[in-house]
Structure formats: structure tokens, C-alpha cells
């Protein structure tokens, strides 16, 4: 140190080194490299004009340039985005106060205000002329009438949304809200064609500092490219994001996409279960196994055109006992799944391990138990050569029709397994593969016979589908944070309750969780635990397995936190 004081030149050198250190070693990592995410063609977005979108990918694409109010980490802890602080809910659960950050800008430099959000809600999402697809999210049932919630501006950075009825899970809808700029959108108000085709919205040219990236290029069926936004509001202190470009590259087949990851042509993609061991052995690839929101299930047709036995809880339980979930997990998913017992996954904060009835895994599994259960439900067995055959109430062998869609090896294998397992308990199963639109129109939509009803997915208890069926094997998604959305499938008035499950207790629990009784988190948890227990006992469907996803990354990518919402911090990812 003495030298520094004695020699000015050396002092300058040291000072220079210190400055250099500040700008290199001590500063945030510099943005470099192009991150290429692989996806298969069917997963491409529809539009960047998000208010018109029906698909999930469109919201994903827009999210690169436009942050929502908040998101979650892998443990479901809230992560503020455009919010200045968490949404405040009045004690009666009716008024939500939203406070925005004050440094949010549109591309013309003007501030993003509460007025933009309220305008987006009132004039666009609630409008008659634009027909926002998800307007039901923002409606409530008041005295038998559906009405919109009421947004109102308090000041530049604060607005409120007022409800007339309590829904503790409405806050999650609010967290997802993204705005349109009033100064542009008002030019197109009332003109649906002009709004749909507006260049500003289809090229996201208004997004200012609201997202880590800015729109650059979108060649349909090929690539979606966004480039680094140096003004990103969350990057002021740390220099994020750290990729110069983020590309979503579409592939026609998963095989070629995974080949591209192996060859190093792309940075990241999903990996199918059979390929995981190979990728885990590759030195330059990291494979993360994470929970998902998707599960497989067998719907039991409890309507009049399904086998009458399926209307009995004991029979449904017996069939679910016969279908071994561990076999599905190990043989079909190669270990990358977990047994499901209700629509609430184990990753959900509302899940309780001890309360669900676990049909399909030991001890509530197996041929003998299932056969005993069927006998106790009043059915008899007879012998046909060396085969045991279950007889229905008319003394005829029970034959069931399982309908599913082609295109997935796992689903096809599962349908054959179900056929085999039910054959073991004396039930002959015919597997029928139909295309998705046929499944919807002929098997899931229903109407009361002889009536002039328009076919819908749930036209009441008397309605039946065009074609008879007994079981449908399909996949559903659930929201681990707000599982009550599954009422659309399982409540008596659920719009997709095509299998005809009508249960007062379940209806009451769904209502309770979305009422004042659910305002307290602990109380809500108790309601969910009870709901999961009733669902697992009633077996309106056989909840088979929640799948786990495998994500393959080049090892050079740093900052990834594996989990159910592993992309929550993607703007902090970087190349080493």
C-alpha cells in the first residue's frame, strides 16, 4: 500500500484496475448468446393479440414481452412483476386493491397507468364487440344473473376491482392480468376487424419496458424470435435478461427436436421418457424432472347410455382397483409419473397425503379385491371354459366400450393395459380409437333424447351422447393453486361434466371453497382436503397418474431452478 502513496503512476494503475474490476468482475453478467427452445408444431401460438387467443401458447409468447401483474416460484411463493406490492383484499373479500409499479413504460415513453388496466378490462375484455374468450373469469353469479366485476381507477398506479360475491381464488385471475395501451386500443374501439388486424398488437410494438424481450420476428411453423429488451423494468439493477435473443423453434417431430438437442443445435426442449436415460448420460446435457399439471383419467359414463353398473360407486371403485396405477407409472411412464387420486396433485399446496382413498395402489388394488367388491355390489360371476365372466343384472356377460384418441403411444398402451386388467376381473373391453372431433361430437356432447336441445357437454342428468360408451381415456389439466376450476368437470352444473356425475356433496364443497368459508387459507385447505377425499372415494372417474416432465438443457445454461413453474425466473438465465 505504501507504494500507492509514493508513486502517482502506480496509483493510477491501481485505480484503473479497480474501475475495471467494477465493470467486469463485480458487474452483472453481460448478455450473450441466443437461447433456442425447441417445441413441436402443434404447440405454436395462435396470436400475439392476446385478447383474441383461446390457446395457452399465445399467452406464453406474449409473456416474453409483456409481464403480468405477478407470478409464482416453484413453491408457489408470489413473485411480483408489474405489481408494486401484493394485491390487498378487503376483509369481506369483495374489494381487491391493485398497486402498480411506477416505472412501467409503453413504447412511446408514456407511463403505464391504472387507467390502462381498467380500460383493458372495461372497454375490451368486458365489451360485446370483441367477444373476449375468457370473459367468464371476470363474471360472477349474482341472484341467478351473470354480471361483470367492477373495476375502478383510484390514481395513476392504483385501481380496484370490486365483486358482489366472495371468491377467494379470484385473486389468481387478477395476478395474470396484462394491459393494452389505452392510447392505441382506443383508436380501434368498436371495430373488431381493425382491432384483430392491428399491426401494433400483432407485432407487440407497444410493449416498452414491460418484458425482458421485444418482439423481433415470427415465421409461422418455424420460429418465434424476441430480442433482449435493455430497458426491462426488472433488469435495471442486474442487467437482465442475459440472452441477446430468445428463439422458439418449431419441429415437426419430437424425434428430430431431441436430435437437435443432442447435436447441440438447440438449447432446450422436452424429452420423452424412453430417451431420458440416454440424455442423462450425455456430458453436455442437464435433464430436470419436474411435476406437471396434467393427469390421465378414465371417465366412467354414468349417463343412461353407459353400463348401469357404472352408476354405482362400488362398481367404479372396483374397476379402479383393477387398474394398477403403479404399472402405468413404471411401464408406460418409465417412472416419470405418480399415481393420482383426485384432481389435486401432490405438488399443490392444498394436497393432503393422508386423506385420499387410494384406489389402484396397494392395498386397494388387485384382481381379488376388485372381484370381491363387484360381488358385494350384487354382481355374479360365471365360468366360460377357463375364463371367469362377470354377468350383468340381465344375466349377460358385461362388455364395456373404452373410447380414446390415437396419436400417443402412452395412451394406446394404457388403453391396452386397461383392457387386460379388466379382462382379468371378467369384463371384456372393446377399445375404440376415434379422432378428437369425433370424440367430442359423438361421445362427449349430449342432449335429452327427443328434445330440441343443442348438443352440449352437459345438458343435464337426462341427456345422453349420440353414441353409447362406457369409458373414455383422456388427459386433463388442473391448476394446483386454484383446483376449484375442476368444477367444470365434476360439479353437477359443470360445463364439461359429459360423463354425468351428479353429487350434492361435491357440489356443496365446490361452492364452499369459492365462498366466504374459503377466505381463510387454513379453512380453504380443509375444504380441499374433504373435496379430495370425497372425489377419491366416489371415483366419478379413475384418476390414473399425474405425469412428470423431463426438460433437457445444454449444461452451459445457468440460473435454472427446477420445479413445477421452472420458467418463473427465465429472465435471469444465462450462458456460463
Amino acid at each position: 500500500m505504501d507504494l500507492i502513496y509514493r508513486r502517482p503512476v502506480q496509483k493510477l494503475v491501481v485505480a484503473g484496475l479497480l474501475i475495471l474490476a467494477v465493470f467486469t468482475g463485480c458487474s452483472a453478467p453481460a448478455a450473450k448468446g441466443v437461447f433456442i427452445e425447441g417445441d413441436v408444431t402443434g404447440g405454436e401460438a395462435e396470436t400475439l393479440n392476446w385478447i383474441l387467443a383461446a390457446d395457452a401458447s399465445s399467452f406464453g409468447y406474449v409473456g416474453y414481452a409483456l409481464e403480468s401483474l405477478a407470478t409464482y416460484d416453484n413453491q408457489f411463493n408470489i413473485q411480483l412483476r408489474c405489481l408494486g406490492r401484493d394485491i390487498e383484499v378487503s376483509p369481506d373479500g369483495l374489494v381487491y386493491t391493485i398497486t402498480l409499479r411506477n416505472d412501467l413504460k409503453w413504447s412511446d415513453g408514456s407511463q403505464v397507468t391504472a387507467e390502462d388496466y381498467v380500460y383493458t378490462l372495461k372497454n375490451l375484455m368486458f365489451s360485446d364487440w370483441l367477444n373476449y374468450n375468457y370473459r367468464d373469469d371476470w363474471m360472477e353469479d349474482v341472484n341467478g344473473h351473470k354480471v361483470f366485476v367492477n373495476p375502478g381507477v383510484i390514481n395513476d398506479t392504483t385501481f380496484t376491482v370490486t365483486r358482489q360475491t366472495v371468491d377467494p381464488e379470484f385473486v389468481y385471475t387478477l395476478y395474470d392480468l396484462i394491459p393494452y395501451p389505452k392510447y392505441i386500443a382506443s383508436k380501434y374501439e368498436g371495430k373488431v376487424d381493425a382491432f384483430t388486424q392491428a399491426k401494433e398488437f400483432n407485432e407487440l410494438s407497444y410493449t416498452g419496458n414491460l418484458g425482458p424481450y421485444r418482439f423481433k420476428e415470427w415465421l409461422r411453423n418455424d420460429k418465434f424470435v424476441v430480442e433482449r429488451n435493455p430497458d426491462f423494468f426488472l433488469g435495471k439493477d442486474n442487467g437482465a435478461p442475459f440472452f441477446s435473443e430468445y428463439v422458439i423453434k418449431m419441429f415437426g417431430t419430437a424425434a428430430v427436436m431431441q436430435g437437435a438437442l443432442e447435436a447441440g443445435d438447440i438449447t432446450y426442449c422436452g424429452i420423452e421418457p424412453p430417451n431420458v436415460p440416454k440424455f442423462k448420460q450425455l456430458e453436455r446435457i442437464n435433464v430436470y424432472t419436474v411435476p406437471t399439471r396434467g393427469y390421465n383419467l378414465v371417465c366412467y359414463n354414468q349417463r343412461a347410455n353407459g353400463w348401469e353398473g357404472l352408476r354405482k360407486k362400488e362398481v367404479r371403485q372396483a374397476l379402479s382397483m383393477a387398474i394398477d396405477k403403479d404399472t402405468i407409472v413404471q411401464k408406460m411412464y418409465l417412472g416419470f409419473a405418480e399415481p393420482a387420486f383426485s384432481f389435486i396433485p401432490s405438488s399443490s399446496p392444498w394436497y393432503s397425503e393422508g386423506n385420499v382413498v387410494k384406489f389402484g395402489v396397494a392395498p386397494l388394488a388387485g384382481k381379488q379385491k376388485a372381484m370381491e367388491q363387484l360381488k358385494s355390489a350384487g354382481y355374479e360371476y360365471t365360468s366360460d371354459g377357463d375364463r371367469t365372466v362377470l354377468m350383468d343384472n340381465n344375466g349377460k356377460p358385461v362388455k364395456l366400450l373404452l373410447v380414446t384418441t390415437p396419436g400417443s403411444d402412452i395412451v394406446e398402451s394404457m388403453s391396452l393395459l386397461i383392457k387386460q386388467e379388466l379382462s382379468n376381473i371378467g369384463i371384456e373391453v372393446e377399445v375404440k380409437m376415434v379422432q378428437w372431433p369425433t370424440l367430442l361430437r359423438q361421445y362427449m356432447m349430449n342432449k335429452v333424447p327427443g328434445s330440441d336441445q343443442e348438443p352440449r357437454y352437459n345438458n343435464g342428468p337426462q341427456a345422453v351422447s349420440e353414441e353409447p360408451w362406457d369409458m373414455v381415456l383422456m388427459g386433463h389439466n388442473t391448476d394446483p393453486l386454484a383446483p376449484s376450476g375442476s368444477s367444470v368437470f365434476f360439479a353437477s352444473d359443470g360445463g364439461l361434466n359429459s360423463f354425468g356425475f351428479f353429487n350434492d356433496e361435491v357440489d356443496a364443497l365446490f361452492k364452499k371453497v369459492k365462498s366466504t368459508a374459503g377466505l381463510d387459507r387454513e379453512d380453504r385447505r380443509k375444504i380441499y382436503i374433504e373435496l379430495a377425499r370425497v372425489m377419491s372415494e366416489e371415483q366419478p372417474v379413475d384418476f390414473l397418474v399425474f405425469s412428470r416432465a423431463n426438460r433437457g438443457f445444454q449444461k452451459t445454461v445457468k440460473g435454472i431452478e427446477p420445479g413445477i413453474n421452472m420458467g418463473y425466473n427465465y429472465y435471469l438465465w444465462r450462458f456460463e
Binding site: D55, D137, K249, M250, T253, G475, H476, T478, G495
Partner: protein, 320 residues
């Protein structure tokens, strides 16, 4: 000839209009809806599927009577407006304009590859009948005909891109169309698409050449003292090529509507095959109708082209 062409063009317009009308009606009276593929996503958000369906149909005018939709579509078409693709959120013409070149270059190069090599190998095979070359060409062509193009594509990617690293695993649209890099990355797709056609042309050419080689005019030409090159090139090949033209034109149609799509899928080439496939699955009516119309005109023009080429190859054929 001119009158014949004008008459054929007139008929082409009538046929195209008929096909357009039939396609338009079939697509709309069918039971499918643009909402079908999003139903689980809609349901996962706890939404009423029917109300979302009604919202989407109202926004794009699909809730109006069919006849009103038809006249509105035709009116727009006559003004040069081909409609809005709601599955890709862009004007239909812009969508097709940004993708046709990828299909065109692939089909063009694969066709040239198949014709040049197929006809050459077939000719040589006939001339050198029952030699090692002939046997090798026969084995090659049988294998080529038997291998499905998409499987060959996957194998080519696995070997030359994943294992050897000579090519990229996918088609990269960052390279300019008119660049050597682009040409290089088209080698594998062109092989995958062209080898089946090539193998067929080898067989057809060999067979047609052998038929003509046995004819008396060939003996006469040789007796006149013409060189073997002239006999084969000018007399035999010219007579053999007439049926080949029909086969090639027919194949071109099936490549455009079949083989090219699978090759595009395997190599990730964003051509019209992928556009039309996705549009069909999305029930994106405007795109499906437009691509059907383009396909119709293409086939009609290929047929017309075949007829015209005949008159040059065989001066005895006249249409007047």
C-alpha cells in the same frame, strides 16, 4: 393451339370456382369447430366451452348464415382480399407469400434431382442391360421405391446431422434463400423427397428405353450407319420420353400434395405443406380454401403443360 390454350384456361377457371365453392361449403357444414383443439385448455381455465365457441364464431362471422358467409367471401375475393387466417393471425395472402418459397425450392430441387439422375441412370441401365451397372441400378431403385420418404429423412438426420455433424438437424431459415448455406442444408431434404421419385424414374426410363430399343426403326437407324450416341439420344430416348412426361407431371402433383409435406415436417421446413396441414387441424377455413385453390390451379396447369409438351415432343399431336 392458342384457341386450345384459351379454352383450357377458361375451363380451368370454371373448375377452380366449382372446387372453391365445394370446399367452402364442406368446411363449414362439417361438425368441427375452430374451438375443438382448445377445448381442454378452455376447460382447464374453468370456462364454459359453448360460450367461448360462440364468442369466437361471432368474432369471425362464422355464426352468420352459410349463404351470407359465401357471398361475403366471394365478394372479398373479387376485390383481392383472400381473408384473415385466425389460426395464425395474419392475412392469408401474407401467410402464403411468406411460406411458398420454402416448398417451391424443395420441390423444384427434388424434381430436378430425380429427373436428371433418374433418366440418366435409367438410360444407361437400358443400354447396359444385364450388366453389373444394370443390376446395381435395379437394386437401388427397388430399395428407393420401397423406403418411405419420412423414414429416410429421419435416418439421414440421425446419421449426417446428429452422429456426423455434417449438417444441422433442422432447416435454418436464417440463411438467405439464394445462398450456398441454404443450398447445402437442402441436400438431405432433397434426397429424402427425391430418392423415391428418382428410383421410379430409373425403372420407367429403363423399361421405356428397352421397349424402343427392340423396335425396327432402331435397327434401320443403325443400318444407316448412325452413331450409337445418335441412335440412343435422338431416336430411342425421344420416343421413350413421351410416356415419361405424363408420369413425371403426375408425380409432381403427388409430390406437391403428399411427399413434400412429410419432408417439410421431418426437416422443419416451414413450407405450404405445414401451413395447410395446421390450417386443416385448426379449421382455419380461409387458409384451407386458398391452398385448395392454389393446388387446383397447379394441377390444371400441370395438365395443360403436359399437353403442350406433347406437341413439341411428338409433332404428330395437334389440338387445333
Amino acid at each position: 393451339m392458342r384457341n386450345y390454350i384459351i379454352k383450357r384456361l377458361f375451363y380451368s377457371v370454371i373448375i377452380a370456382w366449382g372446387i372453391l365453392t365445394i370446399t367452402f361449403i364442406l368446411l363449414r357444414v362439417g361438425p368441427t369447430s375452430p374451438v375443438d383443439r382448445y377445448i381442454l385448455n378452455i376447460a382447464a381455465r374453468g370456462q364454459d366451452v359453448e360460450s367461448v365457441k360462440q364468442a369466437i364464431e361471432a368474432r369471425y362471422g362464422l355464426d352468420k348464415p352459410l349463404i351470407e358467409q359465401y357471398f361475403s367471401y366471394m365478394g372479398n375475393l373479387l376485390q383481392g382480399n383472400w381473408g384473415w387466417s385466425f389460426s395464425t393471425s395474419m392475412p392469408v395472402l401474407e401467410l402464403i407469400g411468406s411460406h411458398w418459397i420454402y416448398s417451391f425450392q424443395l420441390i423444384l430441387l427434388a424434381t430436378i434431382f430425380a429427373i436428371v439422375l433418374g433418366l440418366s441412370i435409367g438410360m444407361l441401365s437400358a443400354v447396359k442391360q444385364n450388366t453389373r451397372f444394370d443390376y446395381a441400378a435395379s437394386i437401388f431403385s427397388f430399395i428407393g421405391i420401397s423406403i418411405p420418404g419420412f423414414w429416410l429423412g429421419l435416418m439421414l438426420i440421425l446419421v449426417f446431422a446428429v452422429q456426423l455433424g455434417i449438417f444441422k438437424t433442422y432447416y435454418d431459415t436464417n440463411y438467405p434463400i439464394w445462398s450456398l448455406d441454404n443450398l447445402k442444408q437442402l441436400i438431405l431434404p432433397v434426397m429424402a423427397l427425391g430418392i423415391g421419385e428418382l428410383a421410379g424414374y430409373v425403372r420407367y426410363t429403363r423399361s421405356a428405353m428397352l421397349d424402343n430399343l427392340r423396335k425396327e426403326f432402331v435397327t434401320t437407324a443403325r443400318a444407316k450407319g448412325l452413331s450409337e450416341r445418335t441412335v440412343i439420344g435422338k431416336h430411342v430416348f425421344r420416343n421413350a420420353i413421351l410416356p415419361l412426361v405424363t408420369i413425371i407431371m403426375f408425380d409432381l402433383g403427388s409430390v406437391v400434395f403428399g411427399g413434400a409435406y412429410l419432408t417439410e415436417i421431418v426437416f422443419g421446413i416451414p413450407g405450404l405443406g405445414q401451413v395447410s396441414f395446421n390450417a386443416i387441424f385448426a379449421n382455419d377455413y380461409a387458409v384451407v380454401v386458398t391452398i385448395t385453390l392454389i393446388g387446383t390451379f397447379l394441377v390444371l396447369f400441370l395438365n395443360l403443360g403436359t399437353d403442350i409438351v406433347y406437341t413439341y415432343l411428338d409433332p404428330r399431336i395437334r389440338y387445333d
